[in-house]
Symmetry: C3
Subunit: 458 residues, 3 copies
Amino acid sequence: MNAPQKRSLTEPYSAYHRDALPEEDKELAHVERGSPGGEYLRRFWQPVALAAEVGELPKRIRMFGEDLVAFRAKSGRVGILELHCSHRGASLEYAVCEENGLRCCYHGWLYGVDGRVLETPGDPPESTLRFSICHGAYPALEYKGLVFGYFGPPENKPEFPIYDSFELQGDRLVPYYITYPCNWLQVHENVMDPVHAVFLHTRVTYSHFAADVWGELPAMEFPQTPTGMIYVTSRRWGDNVWVRSNDIILPNLAQVGHVWEDGAEPKEFSRVAITRWTTPVDNRTCRIIGWRHFSSDADPRGLADERQCGVESVDFFGQNGARPYEDRQKIPGDYDAQTSQRPIAIHALENLTRCDIGVATLRRLLRAELRRVANGEDPKLSPLRVNGLVPTYTHDTVVRVPARTGASPATDKEFVREIGRRITEIVVGGDHHTDPSRTERVRAMIRDYSAQQRMAVA
Amino acid sequence: MNAPQKRSLTEPYSAYHRDALPEEDKELAHVERGSPGGEYLRRFWQPVALAAEVGELPKRIRMFGEDLVAFRAKSGRVGILELHCSHRGASLEYAVCEENGLRCCYHGWLYGVDGRVLETPGDPPESTLRFSICHGAYPALEYKGLVFGYFGPPENKPEFPIYDSFELQGDRLVPYYITYPCNWLQVHENVMDPVHAVFLHTRVTYSHFAADVWGELPAMEFPQTPTGMIYVTSRRWGDNVWVRSNDIILPNLAQVGHVWEDGAEPKEFSRVAITRWTTPVDNRTCRIIGWRHFSSDADPRGLADERQCGVESVDFFGQNGARPYEDRQKIPGDYDAQTSQRPIAIHALENLTRCDIGVATLRRLLRAELRRVANGEDPKLSPLRVNGLVPTYTHDTVVRVPARTGASPATDKEFVREIGRRITEIVVGGDHHTDPSRTERVRAMIRDYSAQQRMAVA
Amino acid sequence: MNAPQKRSLTEPYSAYHRDALPEEDKELAHVERGSPGGEYLRRFWQPVALAAEVGELPKRIRMFGEDLVAFRAKSGRVGILELHCSHRGASLEYAVCEENGLRCCYHGWLYGVDGRVLETPGDPPESTLRFSICHGAYPALEYKGLVFGYFGPPENKPEFPIYDSFELQGDRLVPYYITYPCNWLQVHENVMDPVHAVFLHTRVTYSHFAADVWGELPAMEFPQTPTGMIYVTSRRWGDNVWVRSNDIILPNLAQVGHVWEDGAEPKEFSRVAITRWTTPVDNRTCRIIGWRHFSSDADPRGLADERQCGVESVDFFGQNGARPYEDRQKIPGDYDAQTSQRPIAIHALENLTRCDIGVATLRRLLRAELRRVANGEDPKLSPLRVNGLVPTYTHDTVVRVPARTGASPATDKEFVREIGRRITEIVVGGDHHTDPSRTERVRAMIRDYSAQQRMAVA
């Protein structure tokens, strides 16, 4: 499967000559059972619901186009079962949570979290039917307010990976999700598109993040990392240089820095504001689900609001479809831009430019990985661990390094880009990854580098 | 056409290995024109609307996937016509009821209840077009507040059958209907599933019928009758034995006993609480339509409420989708269990057990009958008549027969089953069917039998 | 492609014998890209929105099954662009109107009204991508409160045609539209169906236009004109004869006379009340869009109401679906009759009669024209012009010509028909078409003719 050919219009007023619409890039975008993308994504633990939603009542969910139910036995264990009872098909969203499992409302069959049939109480006690069949179940677990499932081949189930940013001291992780009526990929790849922040979030209507620095077109780099890739954006802001990286952990986990960063005050290796998976509900629906990180140093301007984070809601602008249509037209947000790229964006109609290198790189990495899995190999996983934690790379760093005296704008832009490259080397490379004090060590290295640069400039 | 093969999962956490979903059992479930099930069901009069709905304005209806209009000419006669005018296709739901027919709003064509074109008033008087064509019509009649249609081959139109339970003295028949967004069969076969009453209606959440006796797993039998089949459930309740039968008159008529029975007081051959057809609106929609029977002896605890019976409503728990989703999750009813078996239940995914013998028997009978019709034979009809009335078998009977002294629970359950069998022989067999005083005769026979048993026990 | 065969039912109660539904007449009805009807309709300027809707915000529209956006640059020029941005596909309904074009919200690409890419601001200044591609655009213009587009081959773009009735002195043209959930053809052809006015608008329920004269079955003719066809209806009303013509300008423009005409007062060549295109939104949706004409002599009874004309609304009865269903059943209007002819009317199920000659004629003309275009020829356009204006033929004329003394009703009907024919010759034929004072000249000719007839009668 290769991406379809593109044919652009080249004349004014030529829409009449538009060919029939090409198909979407099925290899990358489709997620149903047996699709290359779906099989690849199934090899990773995926969050499916807020733990708070999986309480006394079962929660109907949908993943990879399958209808399922997540539930919590009274013992506290969570389970993910196929929606329809193995007996007569009644939906388990109407079942009752019991001590050790979920009991179907219709004839009382009781299922364990693993799908074992524990009781078929309408049958005589000597019935052995329940030992010969299992209800469809997927492994499930709960972590920091989210319920996760593993939807891949049982023999390939990976350890649940814990990233360093999940366990940062002083961070409060608040779970939330937002459902998007479109394919997962176009939502996910937006994280590797720093240019949309310049236009969508700042220049085209007004500054969604209340800081003009976002409207500066940055120097950009898109290096790979042991877990995937990051973007590196570097901007001059007065005597400061702001270097920012967002992190994609393949396939569908992203970490985003603080949206209210304004580049005003020096900081080194300030960490994650959002950890989010973009999960494949079905080919035409996805869900951003994860945590907002709250900590005092991450919100110097006091604009964050934990109370807005939860079901279909988060505390920054334009992330869901709840606003009236005309308001969304006047000041569109991420939700409007991304869902409107068609239910499944058609790559063959795009005209990618230099500002889309991040998106193109991500697609190339995903395609390589899903083909690897389709060929029977394992997906690439990070080889690094710090006390069991996998290092991540999202950060905002602001260093006070004025432009060199007399430098032209072009020369300074190269200087700024060079600062971004060097800081990225510090963050991604080096031997600090297995150091329990990684954060402090990286910060010190950046401070040293920054001081050297200031001296060189002066 | 045979039912598709089933393949069950047999390992915990094995949902990943689920095959692609098999198809529904089309032979049994589908109802569109030319389908075996549809052609079989078309051989019987089917209720389509409440008479009260077919008044000054035509009533748009849908049956067997066809769009139709039921109407009442001012003469009082009811008719069922194809929805779209034979002239230019305008919908006859916008037509006007006149003395002898229905007049299309668009150009005034007038149709009789039989589809004859009575007027084409835009044409010159000498026009003969109206003699050369007929509008599509189905035979219709009105009976006890319901409008019925016959949708089968004209040459096979049966007499409208009147069952004894339609004409019981002291019974008030109150018409009602409820539309279900699912195939007719899964709703209909629930009548032959007495075990769901134990679990859905009693044990799993709480007692919908306010009587714990429903939660006792009964001895069960599923004998055939001259018109179809019944279930026989027999339960020990203190010194009493409660024997209950619900009746399926093939293909899609069911009669159900009283839902507020509590087994407390002796009664013999107490009759019908609900007469209901489950009609095929289309493959994925059906309608329960019929009557609630109201009489003083049928409601000793005063829980029935005639005012709740009508359009999309009936006077007992859980019969429609009007409750909020969360309430339906907390205490699901028949509507929730049955509609959630998928739009068309997939038999190949079921695991039927001994508690599903009634459902399996009903499917076998329906399949035999629809194949008979597909082969050009007539469906089986009851040969019995009492003054033109066809006997039916639904009843609740409570006899005071204590357990034999010293009998073990297992021995007593066999005794209870034997009492159920014998009472069923009295109700279904014998020579009383053509006796105008059948009811009294059956009751006397049961009383005799009950007295003998009491004596034998004592 | 030929229209499919028809098979009528001929027996009462024979709906069971209905064949499977035939298909719609795709050649005439379908409008998607490449369909014969769609390609024909694309050869004409089509109105797509009210100018008042295309203001600060772009307006999402749909035509010929294509999703588009109409917008107004701040310079005032209107444009019609493909909905999805050529860069990454975000919808231009969320774009910002600027001085010279429309700027996508996502990455700031700027498009001119002709589809030229004016800026790709995320790219380096030296980027030349924007010179090598064009965004899909259709020519657009604004005229008297409507925005029009041309959707055909650029090389065949016709001059925007102005009809004499667009520029009548004393006329106020108020734009409006109403969307119909059905194919365009069944809505359009209603204009050539004068008999529906007798039944739908007058006799079947009550007189929608408050004048009993509409209920008289008229003498009818359907002559062709240089631009298409008209109907000619002629009715006796006391000593008056009312001759009325509505005009179809091929393919989908219609002009309709005053709906409150009552035949009471003499008038000659009174002109247009409604100019309306029936536009193809997609195969199953159309839009009536055009102007209500307001002038004092067009509304002698004061029943018109300009304030009711606009988005999804017009000032006469039964033109949209806003009334409650039961009200629409009691007194159906055009909207109810036409939308209920199925989403796409099935001609093969119709039984056309002499009262449908206008509809049949229109279909024949359309079929001939669309085949001409499919064969590579140009559609027929009017050769006539008066100072650049194309003459049109809609009129109401009431002449005082009593029935001849002693004439039988049949004889008088022939006389009335003859008057209609002669007045139509005056209106359609003759050498007045290029006369700047055509209206006055036609009126004088009719007055002369009328006076002669009165003398002949007396």
